[in-house]
Symmetry: C2
Subunit: 238 residues, 2 copies
Amino acid sequence: MSTSSIRLFVTAPLAEGVNAPGSEAQAHYLANVMRRAVGDTVLLFNGADGEWAAQLTELTRKKVTFAPHQQTRPQAPEPDAWLCFALLKRTKTDMVVEKATELGVSRIQPVITMRTQADHVNLDRLRAIAIEAAEQCERLAVPEIMPPMQLPALMAQWPAGRSLFIADERRTARLLRFSSAASALLVGPEGGFTDAELAGIGAHPQVTRVSLGAQILRAETAAIAGLALMLATDPPQE
Amino acid sequence: MSTSSIRLFVTAPLAEGVNAPGSEAQAHYLANVMRRAVGDTVLLFNGADGEWAAQLTELTRKKVTFAPHQQTRPQAPEPDAWLCFALLKRTKTDMVVEKATELGVSRIQPVITMRTQADHVNLDRLRAIAIEAAEQCERLAVPEIMPPMQLPALMAQWPAGRSLFIADERRTARLLRFSSAASALLVGPEGGFTDAELAGIGAHPQVTRVSLGAQILRAETAAIAGLALMLATDPPQE
């Protein structure tokens, strides 16, 4: 019997004595890729009930059922931080979603701007990438991946209580720093925002222009570095 | 005549009235890919003499000569920051070198540790990636890419004046913050350092354990996020 810590995200509630079904893809992964068997233990999380050790009580190539028996970590609050980014080509979009998930964002919002090169995105694919990153990086939740929005609609519907930071390449703004309040980072396309877009964003009361450091960064690097700065806080001292 | 800003790294000295040769690859790029011609202007930098506007005075498919005529930016001091990282698979190593260059490191040192999966690296390939990133991100210098070193040799030869930060997954260390002094970030392999390696590193007087934030990060993400934190300082106020 193997007890190595495979971690899986499930949508079912997790509680002691309540069987939780996995997906067909998870059945395939456990049976065929990882060669697990009934009786083996895995770790499960669903974004709400913490992390649970669970036994496989049923496993075929298409079906898996878990029996959670012990909570290994309680659900903990996560940062209320969004990433809004102008859609990139597929490889870079994938990278941004993966890294943003690792860094701890709660929502990922692709944005269409005047100079955005891409306008289509496979949401199921991005959700799968986010789930895999959360599973591997010990997160207790998976960020919400939103359908792409046009920039003007995003700004028009921006929620009242949420700060929005945008990177300023004029390099005169103050450095982006940790904020414990509800916040979001907006990263523009490779070609930058247009002047009209910048004027519209800048007029919004919740927007703050920030620097991400002294260097000029590619869009995907700006997203990763910006989130590192926005989410970086001292860990709880034990 | 095109004057769009192609930026190229050259090894020749840059000064007014002194012809500077480019490489065969640059001749091919300018002539065949970018369709430039004699008389066109490009921007050049060499890590020492600032950035120069230069005219193409000779261009064939195999040979290019530049005539610098005006310095567009003076050489400016860059952070004295190194990245030392346990070698990753090729795609991830490429990404780390590209992003570390964008973020402004002066030296990139691949390291071999007990749990490092890779031990070979194509230095010419990594140097080409660093040059391209520096060209595109307006840097005035290209980081030095060092041949891989074994971890014990790296620690034994560590220079006396340089701080070395290592990420601590126990999450009790203080957050990595900007340091204007000579510094370096050391990122371990996917499987982590061994206990013996950690003991050896921890005993070194210049080593400080730091946190990169609350999350568990993949190795390449730790390198990028860590450099973002280590190099992030307020820009000069203009």
